[in-house]
Symmetry: C2
Subunit: 134 residues, 2 copies
């Protein structure tokens, strides 16, 4: 299978497949005489795994861990669960932070009339209003 076929079948762009190889996330592909990369079903399987994990927001570092565990059929599920839980904590922290920003802004927006007049509590707050004693 050529890289284009693998790309279509896995949903990962050829560009990214080469990048994953270059950075060692996946092993270097076999080459034909022409220099073309040549893949097999196991490569497709692995790349689909990578794609699924990326869709779930795992970083490439976490993917490296997951792939190591994925290759080792004898690793305890405890280790996999630990990586997953760590990632869950990161995701939830990021989500909370963003929602916090949204809530802060929402409160400001609610206090802004949003009409043709120029008075705007949003800009006043961003300017440091309330913290400035001048």
């Amino acid at each position: 299978m050529q890289i284009g076929t693998l790309s279509s079948a896995s949903g990962v762009s050829a560009k990214m497949i080469r990048y994953y190889e270059e950075t060692g996330l996946i092993p270097a592909a076999d080459r034909r005489e022409s220099g073309y990369r040549d893949y097999g079903d196991n490569d497709l399987h692995r790349l689909r795994f990578v794609q699924r994990a990326r869709e779930l927001g795992f970083s490439m570092d976490q993917l490296r861990q997951l792939l190591r565990l994925w290759n080792d059929t004898n690793r305890p599920s405890r280790e996999v669960k630990a990586v997953a839980l760590e990632h869950i904590a990161e995701l939830e922290e990021k989500a909370r932070k963003l929602q916090g920003f949204a809530d802060t802004l929402r409160a400001l927006a609610d206090s802004c009339d949003g009409d043709e007049r120029s008075n705007c509590p949003i800009l006043v707050d961003l300017s440091g209003g309330g913290h400035c004693h001048k």
Copy 2:
């Protein structure tokens, strides 16, 4: 005021102040004969505004909009509110997406024993388990 003083007073690194100038987010600073940048209170005020908005997750593009509105004391508050609401929607969408990832993973992690045995539903799912008829 030199750039270091402005940096301490605003909480924005000197590096980023130069970058903001280079990309046109803030106007080019006055220069002394030595070539040193020279700032005044208005610059500090503007940079604090920028810093507050960055803390709230506004992109530099949105900041450009906000600064334009901030400079124009006669703009209707409607325009400011529109930028804020747009950003709120973006933040909430990102937060929802991350929380969705977390929920998906949480369900997988809950079904994983996390013990010394190797059986792990998390990896099975990431491998495409359930979608593969093979």
